[in-house]
């Protein structure tokens, strides 16, 4: 009987200890110094949850950082994590152990608001982004990530898993694809190169070439040849000044 009481007391003691540690952890978390953003990197990898994530490098590349969104930390080692939805919603809808898992990691977690429950939480610098680009056009995780990456002036931004391929008839494809393409344009305009994984639908469309009005032919050496595509009349640029429409004598 005594032994049982002793055991119970021990359990209660341990539980109390756990609670105290938890509280302490939250308090000290507020003072955690998260690692600063690094300017002038060689590469910033931006990882989404699309299928081409599987092609992202698995080893650390020198002078590069790997930024991921939502639960991508499960697939690759990250330097920074971005969760632009409310983290409780993400936890409720997708990852039941999200908060616990990311608190077990060392990377900073960027969110739109501030969450004391997160160990290395950083509020996304929206004001800085708006001031720098003078445009409020951030409609998904990847667009926030690319905008912040551009500010760090890396040589290259490399996208894996940002495939925008969940069917072609929904908002994901209609608006978000365009938004990401806008930010890639912004990067290009600022002399930052970008690479999009081959499997992604970004920077292309299916079924047609990427040069409107031109026919693309790829030769054996993978060089692309561009020729004007004539769709009307004689299939060449030979044309008359005027044309007429006449009743045909055939019987189609």
């Amino acid at each position: 009987m005594e032994k049982l009481e002793e055991k119970e007391n021990k359990i209660i003691e341990l539980e109390n200890e756990k609670e105290v540690k938890k509280e302490e952890s939250i308090i000290t978390n507020k003072e955690v110094k998260v690692k600063d953003l690094v300017k002038g990197l060689e590469n910033i990898f931006i990882l989404g949850r699309g299928q081409s994530l599987g092609y992202a490098p698995t080893t650390k590349i020198e002078n590069s950082e790997v930024w991921g969104c939502n639960n991508v930390y499960r697939a690759r080692e990250l330097d920074r994590l971005f969760i632009m939805h409310d983290i409780y919603m993400v936890q409720y809808l997708r990852e039941k152990s999200l908060i616990e898992e990311i608190n077990g990691k060392d990377f900073p977690v960027y969110t739109l608001g501030k969450y004391d429950v997160l160990k290395n939480n950083v509020r996304y610098p929206t004001e800085e982004i708006l001031k720098e680009f003078e445009i409020s056009y951030l409609i998904n995780n990847a667009s926030y990530m690319i905008a912040l990456a551009i500010l760090q002036k890396p040589k290259k931004i490399i996208l894996f898993g940002v495939d925008m391929a969940y069917g072609t008839q929904n908002e994901y494809m209609y608006n978000e694809k365009a938004c990401i393409e806008f930010w890639l344009g912004m990067a290009k305009g600022r002399d930052i190169d970008f690479i999009v994984s081959e499997q992604s639908t970004l920077m292309k469309r299916r079924g047609y070439g990427s040069f409107y009005g031109m026919k693309e032919t790829v030769n054996a050496a993978f060089a692309i040849r561009l020729d004007p595509e004539y769709t009307w009349g004689s299939k060449t640029s030979k044309s008359a000044m005027r044309y007429k429409i006449i009743k045909a004598k055939h019987n189609l």
Binding site: Y174, L184, G213, L226, W232, S239, K244, A248
Partner: protein
């Protein structure tokens, strides 16, 4: 006398006017140190300094303008196409090679992309859109992929420090319409070859009974 084929660098503004419903907001009087670049047959509705046509221009004879080339020649404006059409007095290639050399990106899903990329090469202070509306109701491809391609090139322009202005009704760089087309204007009625045949025959089936033939030598 119209402009020469050569583009002009460092203008204050290049206005790009396309055929979306906000086209009519394009100024009738051209501001100083500014050019208006139009696409396809927008010259029928508003003043333009240069015209860009990404597809085969001869397609416009059927629906839009039975005297297409003659009218372009009468306007004495440069016409940029993919391929050279000798009946056009001032015709040149869209400078795709120059664009590729500069940007090393091939992402031109419509003529506006070529126009914005060409405009960026001229380093204007500002690029302004009218009628580049990229509306969801314009058809799947326009909104699905072309919108992103246009936005990509706008991004390049902004990244290079070129100011960008647009009509509130356009969907470019946003996902909803903001303006409400105040004082909207109708376009001039189309006057292609198809309007020279009986109305009853102006459908895909009946049109099979007609052919379009050159009215004069092909050069």
């Amino acid at each position: 006398m119209g402009k020469g084929i050569e583009f002009i660098k460092n203008l204050d503004k290049i206005i790009i006017c396309a055929q979306g419903p906000s086209w009519y907001q394009c100024p009738d009087k051209i501001p100083q140190d500014c050019e208006i670049w139009g696409c396809n047959v927008i010259y029928r509705d508003t003043y333009v300094d240069r015209i860009f046509i990404g597809h085969d221009p001869r397609g416009h004879f059927l629906e839009d303008d039975a005297n297409f080339f003659e009218n372009l020649n009468n306007l004495d404006i440069p016409v940029y196409t993919n391929g050279v059409f000798k009946p056009l007095k001032k015709n040149a290639f869209i400078p795709i090679m120059e664009i590729l050399e500069e940007f090393n990106v091939g992402f031109f899903l419509n003529v506006i992309c070529y126009m914005v990329a060409t405009a960026i090469l001229q380093k204007p202070r500002c690029i302004q859109f009218y009628g580049v509306d990229m509306r969801p109701d314009a058809g799947g491809e326009t909104y699905l992929n072309e919108k992103g391609a246009v936005e990509f090139w706008v991004g390049v322009a902004l990244g290079r420090g070129i100011k960008f202005e647009n009509t509130p009704e356009s969907y470019v760089l946003k996902i909803k319409q903001e303006g409400d087309f105040p004082g909207i204007r109708e376009k001039i009625k189309r006057a292609g070859l198809i309007y020279q045949i009986p109305e009853a025959d102006r459908n895909a089936m009946a049109l099979r009974g007609y052919v379009i033939a050159p009215d004069g030598p092909e050069i």
